[in-house]
Symmetry: C2
Subunit: 124 residues, 2 copies
Amino acid sequence: MAFFDDLRYSPPMEARKTITLDPISCCAPVRADALDEVQADMLAHSFAALADPIRLRLLSFITSSAGEVCACDLVEPSGRSQPTVSHHMKILVDAGLVTRDKRGLWVWYRAVPERLDALRAVLG
Amino acid sequence: MAFFDDLRYSPPMEARKTITLDPISCCAPVRADALDEVQADMLAHSFAALADPIRLRLLSFITSSAGEVCACDLVEPSGRSQPTVSHHMKILVDAGLVTRDKRGLWVWYRAVPERLDALRAVLG
DNA sequence: ACATCACATTGACAACCATCAATTTATCGA
DNA sequence: TCGATAAATTGATGGTTGTCAATGTGATGT
């Protein structure tokens, strides 16, 4: 019971093996960074492209169609104006998640599966 | 060559089989939404939690340590002030990506692998 | 009770972001 | 060359976000 009281108000077992109750050294150090600052900046930029519901739906339109999708088919189902859709698509393209291919008057978008795989890898 | 010129300035093969050159029907329709608006809102909220380099590094500190990490060990390596780290950790907790456990003076964080798995699933 | 410590909250500010109307740019058919 | 069309850009606006100094809150040991 004194043991459990100790546990409740102290650093965990692993830490308690090597440290004292001195607040300065209360905590076991975390491991070396898995992500350096440059990697974190790049990844954050990619995830930011996914951090908007409209962009997620636009991307889902594209990934759920096996091939390409015309920009003209994204405006109406997204419920946003043409300039807004163009703005969001630019963000997805700049993040490398989709490619843009202009042919004549129309622009065609394709998902970039390798890029989505890379983001998946970071999460697991 | 006339054939390729056509290809270059027209909708793709699949579309050309069923449509005319009338601009109104120029494009093959995208498939039904894979993501409805409610799902998109929730997912965007989760990805927004990952859309900051500091939060990605904080999360990586936690996931790269097998067990828990003390909040007191996150301030110095993140290079941000204590209130700023507290702010970012709240965002990660609210997004369900980490859990918060206060024991005595210290707060301990743990990753929530199921939640990271869920986000991974969306990307693949 | 009191001083101390870990962490959260508040308040303020600058930077960034989503959105749309209006306009511009690029491409096509005639 | 001209009119029409798809998409990008511009400019403006309201809302959100990252940051820190100062302060508040709750737990601890004495």
